[in-house]
């Protein structure tokens, strides 16, 4: 199978959906001629023009809000917020408007809006350009939260999100854009709420989110050499969350570690661990363990930045501790 990058996978997903449905369009800061801060819309401007690949002013609230208004009135917008750190400026439109209009209006409205944004550390961008904030959005009923970890998932999930009638936070890790992976030429979709077992194993379940999936897979490889079999599960969407797949793995291994880059306190791991306790307590042989970002703003210094998020060695250490 051919290999393409995560960035190319996103471009293909948007291109195919824009060809398929003329209501789909992209707007955001520098998404046009520039091709997006991370190149995730490169070439689309040439093909679709400035109407459908629309550069905006630096106005995050208006970008998302215009997405809500357009979605309510017959379009299917994709709004790009360059960094998830900037969603604070647009939070009213995301959390109070996009997420809630359907419910507030008694189910009479639909908001088919995808908010694409980048997250994560790894480039020494410090505290306002490196965060993983998926937990903010998981907390708001009415939103879906999707975090792909490889090009195949990125393409299939983004296409699904564009076709979905609910507002979606589609969160792309900034260190993923250049990652290569196998992606078929033919069309496919990946449903939301369907976790993927990235590696099967019977000793410990590692539930990993976004780039932590790749780290968990590398850790699993090293541990396999020592005879420890790790099952790596990628939820892919945090809302909806595929608890069935997670619980099936827990039943098999009895030991679980949740790994994510976002800070530990009230992070996605807290939610996932609690759900496991509620739904699969009898199968647990050890307390669920969290391995997460440290409870501090992301520092600039590469040494500190690395220490702030789980590394492969941390995952190996955690697995050995729990086993």
């Amino acid at each position: 199978m051919r290999e393409i990058t995560f960035q190319q996978a996103l471009i293909e997903a948007m291109r195919e959906e824009m060809l398929r449905d003329e209501r789909v369009f992209l707007m955001g800061e520098d998404v046009g001629l520039y091709g997006g801060a991370y190149g995730a819309s490169k070439g689309l401007f040439d093909e679709f023009g400035p109407e459908r690949i629309r550069d905006t002013a630096i106005s995050e609230a208006a970008i998302v809000g215009a997405g809500v208004g357009a979605a309510l009135t017959g379009m299917r917008p994709i709004a790009e917020i360059m960094y998830i750190d900037f969603t604070g400026i647009a939070m009213d439109q995301i959390a109070n408007q996009a997420a809630k209009v359907r419910y507030m209006f008694g189910g009479k409205a639909r908001v088919p809006l995808v908010i694409r944004t980048s997250c994560g550390s790894g480039r020494s961008f410090a505290a306002q350009h490196s965060q993983c904030l998926e937990a903010w959005f998981m907390h708001v009923p009415g939103l879906y939260v999707v975090m792909p970890s490889n090009p195949y998932d990125a393409k299939g999930l983004l296409k699904t999100c564009i076709r979905d009638d609910n507002p979606v936070m589609f969160i792309e890790h900034k260190m993923s854009y250049k990652m290569k992976g196998q992606v078929p030429e033919e069309e496919y979709l990946i449903p939301l709420g369907q976790a993927d077992v990235k590696r099967a194993g019977g000793d410990v379940t590692v539930i990993a989110i976004s780039t932590m999936v790749q780290r968990a897979l590398k850790a699993a490889e090293e541990l396999a050499a020592e005879g420890i079999e790790v099952e790596v599960i990628d939820p892919r969407s945090l809302v909806p969350l595929d608890m069935e797949s997670i619980c099936n793995s827990v039943k098999k291994t009895g030991r679980v570690i949740v790994v994510h880059e976002s800070v530990e306190r009230s992070g996605p791991g807290a939610e996932i661990a609690t759900r496991i306790m509620e739904e699969a307590f009898d199968y647990l042989d050890a307390p669920v363990k969290r391995l997460s970002g440290k409870n501090c703003p992301m520092p600039c210094s590469p040494v500190l930045e690395e220490a702030a998020v789980p590394q492969i060695s941390d995952i190996i250490g955690a697995v050995k501790e729990i086993i």
Binding site: A57, S59, A66, V68, A70, L72, Q97, G106, K108, D164
Partner: protein
Amino acid sequence: MALSKKDMVEMYRRMLLVRYFEEKVDELYGLGKIKGGTHLYAGEEAVAIGACAAIKPDDYITSTHRGHGHCVGKGGDPKLMMAELWGKKTGYCKGKGGSLHIADLGSNNLGANGIVGGGIPIATGAGLSIQMRKSKQVVLCFFGDGASNTGSFHESLNMGGVWKLPVVYICENNLYGMSVPAAKACAAQPDIAIRAASYGMPGQVADGMDVLAVYEAVKKAADRARKGSGPTLIECKTYRYKGHSKSDPRAYRTREEEAEWQARDAIASFRKRLVGKGVLTEKEAERIDNEAYEYIEASARFAEESPYPDVSELLEDVYVD
């Protein structure tokens, strides 16, 4: 298109519906029959009714926390509105929205909004959608003087100006953002309308106590928007008769000031004009007045007698399945 006699009579009727609706709501809140928060539009009727009369049924509006007038203006049924305020299943939003979130999507009313300024970006997006769909509709975006100081206002009017979107931004300047006078909250004086220059669109002040003046201003702006010439900012100077909300003792303004504005009451003066011009006789005007009153009484009865939603509906409508 000049207003026909029939149009003007309908405007008069809708202004009365709003006034009696608000008075009834005030009473029902006072009696503790309706719960929740509410912000009454009494005094400002000329703005919503004049503006909505200037657009077509398939045009859009976005409304505000003080949104009952806009809903009636866009053709909403006070029965379903009252039921919504009451949290009843028969309300526009099945009782899930209440006063702050009344939306009648069937009449292209994109909803009231509990967040000051929250509807401005949404109206702008509806304008973008119209432009992209080439549907020749327009959007009326209502908001208050308070909202004109939010970031959403600035971001949205700038976006609307850059893209020449078919939106009429209508600022209902009722002089106070809750308790703070607009004069102390808005740096540029004396008019909010002058800010239009920053966004590359015309700005205009209209007398918000004169329903025909509002109609004329909005008609002109809507025609301009429909032609593709872009948005307009219209500031309607008006006054809310009641407090900001039901718990407001109105310590920030004088009773004399209130009396001065009430002496210019938009409904009374419009009635006088209609009778003076021979559009209505006194008797006809009185009949319309009585019918509006009775309809609101019937609306309250309808709402009171309607069932509450079933608790099983709590988790419905969060997502599209």
